[in-house]
Structures are given as C-alpha cells and as structure tokens.
C-alpha cells in the first residue's frame, strides 16, 4: 500500500523516465516474488501431493513398482472405503475426537480463568506466575514422559486413553494462557470498573465482558489446544498399547504396519483422513490463529 503512495510521490516529483524505471523495477520485484513463492509452494506441497496420489492407488499398483510413482493410473477409493468400514480405524478416530474434546475444554477453562486472574486481578506472586507459566516449555514432553510413565502407572491409567486427557492440557495450557493474557490485557480497564460499579461480580464480568470481547483470542487458543491434542504422538506411543485405546497418530502406525508389511495405500489414505479435521479448521479459522500467535510476539 505504501509502495503505491511512494510511487505517487515519485510520480509527482521525478522526471517521466525516472518514474518509468521505478515502476518497472517494482513490477520485476512483484513477478520475481510470485515466481519464487510458486517454487516454494511446489516444494512444500510435494509430500501432501504424494500422500494423495498414493492413497488413490490399489495395493497391486503400488507393489507392481513400474512407471512413475508420482502418478496414479487406476485411481480407486478402495483404501478410503476400507478404512471407513474398518472397526479399528473407527475406534481410533472416535478416541481421538473424545480425547481432543475433553482436552480442549479442560485447557480452555483452565487457561481463561488463569489468564483473567493473572492479567486483571492479581495476587501475591501472580506476576512471577505469568512469566513462569511460559517457562514450563523448557521442560518439554520428551523430558517428562519417563517420570510420567511412573506417575500414570500409579494412577492405574497405563493403556487407558483418559491418561491423555489428563496430560495433554499440560502441553496446551501454558501457550493458551499466554495468548489469553495478551488479549485480556488489551481490554480497557474502564470496562471492568464500569462493570464493578454496576454491581457485577468477577465471574459475571469475565463471562459477560471479557469472553465476548476476547473471542478472537479464545478461538486462537482453542485451535492451538486442538492442534496439540490431535497431533501429539509421544504420550500415546508410550502409554497405550492395545488397539481399543489408541488414538489416530499411533493407531495408524501400529495397525497398518505389520512387521515388514507396509500397506502404503491404506497408510496414506489414513493420513489424509486423520489430517482432515485440522485442515478444515485451519481453512476456516486460519486468520484468527495467525493473529493470536503473532499478537503476543509483536507486542513484545
């Protein structure tokens, strides 16, 4: 936008030829950017494209090993149909959905309440807590899964998918809280003073003012919690071992890879089906998510 205003200034000030070369330069930069971006997009989309191609192939076509693997000659939806009617895959899908719904709800309740308290009310040590929460990421899941293996064992939740609903919030809550603190802090203080004078309680204030006003932030945080919960791999791999308890990420790997037999067509179809919910959600709500992610960081 400012490029055009600069262009206008140049138009008025400079000679005709000068303007012309500037204009051409800018056009070159624009087309160069498009071409470079195009190359990047092609490279970045190679794996998803290949997933799609393989998922449309029959096992016979894959094992024939002739011709270009990048093309599909006899497209078939057999793989998808097999998975949709395959009871184990249905179980994984259902388990993933249940765990994700519980995780997202728990994470959002915890982080919204905490963010409200930390950004608006405050108590002794709340400032330290607000910064400290984010530092929990210094202790990543790949460090915690071994002691948690013992703790989950004490709770009797080994090979129980609800242990995931218990553990996933630890991955989502710190970042969700951080996003929500950012959004809540941007709400003017006058609003809650007005609410207090009108006789609203704190919870009413949170429910009637903060949550509606910070809705974009809540959407962003919800998407984050969803992403974490849907895609997590380490905890289910470590704690679940029977197929009735598994979620999608581990179920696909342990079920469709039997020893040395790789049913690649089915695996790729399963990957596509499992990636569908995140892709749909991002397709519609990407803007909220990007805004939520970058808002906190650009503010500093």
């Amino acid at each position: 936008m400012s490029a055009t205003t600069m262009g206008d200034a140049a138009k008025r000030a400079a000679a005709h030829s000068h303007k012309h070369s500037l204009h051409r330069q800018r056009l070159w930069a624009l087309w160069g950017s498009y071409i470079a971006l195009g190359v990047f997009v092609v490279i970045f989309l190679v794996p998803p494209f290949y997933t799609l191609m393989t998922s449309l192939k029959s096992s016979a076509e894959i094992s024939a090993q002739t011709g270009s693997p990048w093309l599909v000659r006899h497209p078939t939806l057999d793989n998808f149909w097999y998975l949709i009617t395959y009871p184990n895959f249905q179980t994984y899908y259902l388990n993933s959905i249940m765990v994700t719904i519980v995780t997202v709800s728990v994470s959002m309740v915890i982080s919204v309440l905490a963010a409200f308290s930390l950004s608006r009310m405050g108590f002794w040590g709340s400032q330290a807590l607000a910064t400290g929460v984010f530092l929990t990421y210094l202790v990543p899941a790949s460090l915690l899964f071994i002691p948690l293996f013992q703790i989950v064992g004490w709770l009797g939740l080994i090979n129980n998918l609800w242990c995931l609903a218990l553990l996933y919030p630890t991955l989502a809550v710190p970042f969700c809280t951080w996003i929500m603190i950012g959004y809540f802090s941007s709400i003017p203080k006058e609003l809650d003073e007005a609410a207090l004078i009108d006789g609203a309680g704190y919870l009413q204030m949170l429910w009637k003012i903060f949550i509606p006003v910070a809705m974009p932030g809540i959407i962003a945080a919800t998407i984050f919690a969803f992403t974490v919960s849907w895609g997590a791999f380490l905890y289910p791999l470590a704690y679940l071992y029977t197929s009735n308890q598994m979620v999608l990420t581990v179920g696909i790997i342990s079920d469709l890879i039997r020893g040395d037999v790789f049913q690649w067509g089915k695996i790729m179809a399963a990957c596509l089906l499992a990636s569908l919910p995140p892709i749909v959600i991002y397709a519609f709500l990407m803007d909220y998510y990007v805004a939520g992610l970058t808002a906190g960081a650009t503010k500093g």
Partner: protein, 316 residues
Amino acid sequence: MADGTSVPVGVIGAPRRVARKTSSLKRFTQQRSTIAFMLALPLILLVACFVIYPALYAIYLSMLNKKMTAFVGLGNFAFLLKRHTFQLVIFQSCLFAVTAVVMKAFLGFVLAHLMHNIPGKNQKIWRGLLLVPWVIPLALSTLTWWWMFDPSYSAFNWVLNQFGFANVPWLGVGWIARFCTITVNVWYGTPFFMIMYLAALKSVPEQLYEAASIDGANAVQKLFFVTLPMMRNIIAITVLFSLIVTFADFDIVRILTAGGPQDMTHVFATYAFQVGIQSGDIPLGAADSLFMFPILAFAAFFVLRGVTRRTKEIAT
C-alpha cells in the same frame, strides 16, 4: 464463587460508613486476591502435578539403579557420558536442532519477505498454501516422508533414476539419514517462522524506510539497518521457541529412522524412549532426557536476557 458476587457490595458500602472505609477497602483487596488465586489455582495445580513434580521426580529417578532398588548417585550420568552411543546422541541432538533452526529461520525470513512484496489480498491464499506442512500433524506427514525415502521404489529415487543417477539409500546411511531428518524438520517448521516474521515485517513503521530512502540507503542497507534491528526481538523469541521444540523433537526421528543406522540419528528424546520405555531401564532414560534441561535453560537465559535488555533500550 458466591464471594465473587458479594465483593461489589463491599465497594458500594464503603463510602456510606466512612469510619470503616479503610478496613472494608482492605477486605475488598484481600477478597479480590483470594478470588484471583482461586481462579489461577487449576493452572497452578496442573503445572505443579504434571510438570514440576514429574521434573523433580525425574531427577530422583535418574539416581536409581535399573531395578529402582538402590541409590546410585550420579552413576547413570557418568555411565551415559562414557558411552559412545550417548556421545553420538549429544552430537546429533545439537546438530539437528541448530542446523534445522538456522535453516528454518533463514527460509522463513526469505519467505516472509517474498510474501511482504505481494499485494495484501493475494497474501492470504499463498500463506494458506505455505502453511499446509505445519497444519498436518507431524507424525502423519513424517509417514509420507518415510514412504518417499523408501529405498526400493521411492519417489525420490525414481526421479534420480530418470536423470541417470543411482539410487540413494536415504535412511540407510548415517549422514544421509541425518540430512533427511533435518530436511523433514525444516519442511515442517519453516511456515511457523514465516508467519511470525511476516507479522513482524508488517509492524515495522513505513516512515523508517522512507527516512532511510531519503538518506540514500539501498535495499541491502535497509535490510541490515532498518528491518533486522526492528525485528531482533521477534526473531529471538521465535528462534528460542523453535529451538525448544526442535531440540525436544521426537516424532520425526522415531518414525523415520528410530535412531538408526548405527544410532547415528538418535536424539535425546528417541534415545530416552528406547532406553527407558522399550528396554525398561527407566532411571537411565530419565538421566538421558534430563540432559535436555540445562541446554535449553542456557539458551533461554541468553535469549530472554537479550530481549529484556533491548526492550529496556527501546523504552528509555
């Protein structure tokens, strides 16, 4: 939670009885902070039970013997450090994290600039396309990469054969396998850098560039003396966040190579999984994964110190 609604009564009541004003105000703030604490309590409990306690418990675990019957002090750490495999793990973890983060940061920067060049309404589509790698769950997209790296009839080897090159054993030879794991990580993580940098680029005030143009700065000078200094903090925070996530990465290595060939691609997380969960030596696994913390804390300390110093400089 009924306390929450009763607080304002105290506020309204305060001016009526002047004598009790101070005590009622005090009670108000006291009540307020009690409610605040109650609201933050779930967070505190969650972090205490499932982050801080397990972390401390990991330290305790790491000092036990394999059967967890005797206390061996720092024996596990000494044992690990002497093992050749673990030295490889340390080397590979650092190589993996540093190379991947540097490449992601660079590519993300280039992509953000390219995106910044094109008009706003087209940006959305391009951004959506470029974010696809980041949207697909990593464990699932790594499966596709694995299939593409397949030695017998792989997508990449077919292309190489078309151009007259021999097959490459992608995941079968140490250094090539290392390169592959890094490639997948860069593919997955670059979009995140791109959107963070794009947001940062948009927040740089246009007047700065105009002023630089008037002073006769060329494009390179603008990049080094306007763009980069303005983006320093966001670059630092993004790099730190990505460094933590990359360093702790488990999915890619586990699925692609499971640590092989000859343990050359193991990182801390996958090695801890193999030793702790698969071989059942929980204390040794805990000791292995604990090595991550000081390295991450060290990186975080320097990055965050730099950020706060620069923020103060801007403020004064």
